[in-house]
Symmetry: D2
Subunit: 134 residues, 4 copies
């Protein structure tokens, strides 16, 4: 199933455009990473909030769909702790709670020096359909 999830998310054009890649998916868990380049910077020359969000949200989507049931984000809160140092961002999504219709996830974003950049808390609505990977 996890391979199916990864190949499904390879169809995400925005994640690919931004440079976010899934590196691991297992039930209730996903990890994604991104290599920082000039295009990711804001007017103050630091990584733009939309980059951090997009990477974390991508890990969140993979983790929440990892059971095969189609899951749609209904809301997400992001808190920023510090600007990243180095060239790599990693986002790890972990399931906190899951019921038939709703599930909750924490997604932590770290830089390559282990600095804790941001935390997201997100909730999904679980549809009846299964995701299809082709």
């Amino acid at each position: 199933m996890s391979d199916g999830i990864i190949s499904y998310f390879e169809k995400d054009r925005f994640a690919a455009f931004v440079g976010a890649k899934l590196v691991e998916v297992k039930p209730g868990y996903a990890k994604a990473m991104l290599e920082i380049s000039d295009k990711h910077l804001n007017a103050a020359d630091i990584v733009q909030g939309g980059v951090t969000f997009t990477l974390a949200d991508f890990a969140f989507a993979a983790a929440s769909n990892s059971h095969g049931q189609l899951s749609l984000s209904v809301n997400t809160t992001i808190s920023y702790f510090r600007p990243p140092t180095g060239k790599i961002l990693v986002a790890e999504a972990k399931e906190i709670s899951i019921t038939n219709k709703l599930a909750s996830y924490n997604i932590d974003v770290f830089d390559e020096n282990g600095g804790h950049i941001a935390r997201l808390t997100g909730m999904v609505f679980r549809k009846k359909e299964m995701i299809t990977s082709e």
Copy 2:
């Protein structure tokens, strides 16, 4: 000042890369827009959450920096209401509350048919420095 804010945010490379443009900035207010294309879509062929967030966060950054004092987002909550129809997304950021150190904003995202796509609520920490537009 509003022209200075717009020219300052033209240096935001990620916003430019994603296609988000500021169309109006006045004290405590900003409007941004984005033309949807294939690169903005997720694996389910709808606009990726990171696109909606990036556009809204860009309007939020402009509105919160519109007084000239450097303002950094500390956290943001996004709720998704429906997928967009049409080809244009518009985000409008409005100030709800402002004190010396902290300020809060609502950012609403609409599609070109007036559909209410998402709402963000964000808070910034206001630094002592002023933003500099050159």
Copy 3:
């Protein structure tokens, strides 16, 4: 229906214990109020966050159940703007978005001098059952 909603929420013992009262309910809208007394204060002698939350959450519950369909809060974000002045708090809940399964609300809390104390954004899951008022 609105009278049925009000009488249903009169069974909320915690709201009654804290002193929160519904003053108006109509489809997608509710207003609640509370008279501040010594028991509502925290260690710094200002209204405790739990009081503001409880009042706002009560208006939110009434607004989200105002259509008669049982609605359960799944998450809520509260932002605090300033401590209240005077002796009365009022919370107004307004529907922002509603679908078959999910609905979103803004709830604003004001003091008797019109000061904007806090804003909540809340989401409910709408069950199939109707609420029963007796």
Copy 4:
């Protein structure tokens, strides 16, 4: 210091009124508990959201003030996972990130059977003043 924090928070009249008690405070951490009784129930006979919030927010306040520096909550997100079983609620607040001006906390609420009831994520603004415990 932790004893000073506990005695300071004994002056919180709303927490006392609701029945929330601090059971442990150490730097960046606090645990609070509450015995559920009839007054804590809502119209559907389950623990009211305001009770869960008040308990968790109290642990959050103690943890964020545990360093002695006066800290004010600026916003908090609560996600509800399931209704509690049994008669006891416990809230544990842990520091995720701290800087000179801002700090972030996770607060988890459990019932006496270890069920994970709710998660809060909260941010405080750290003032220059120290808290005074007499």
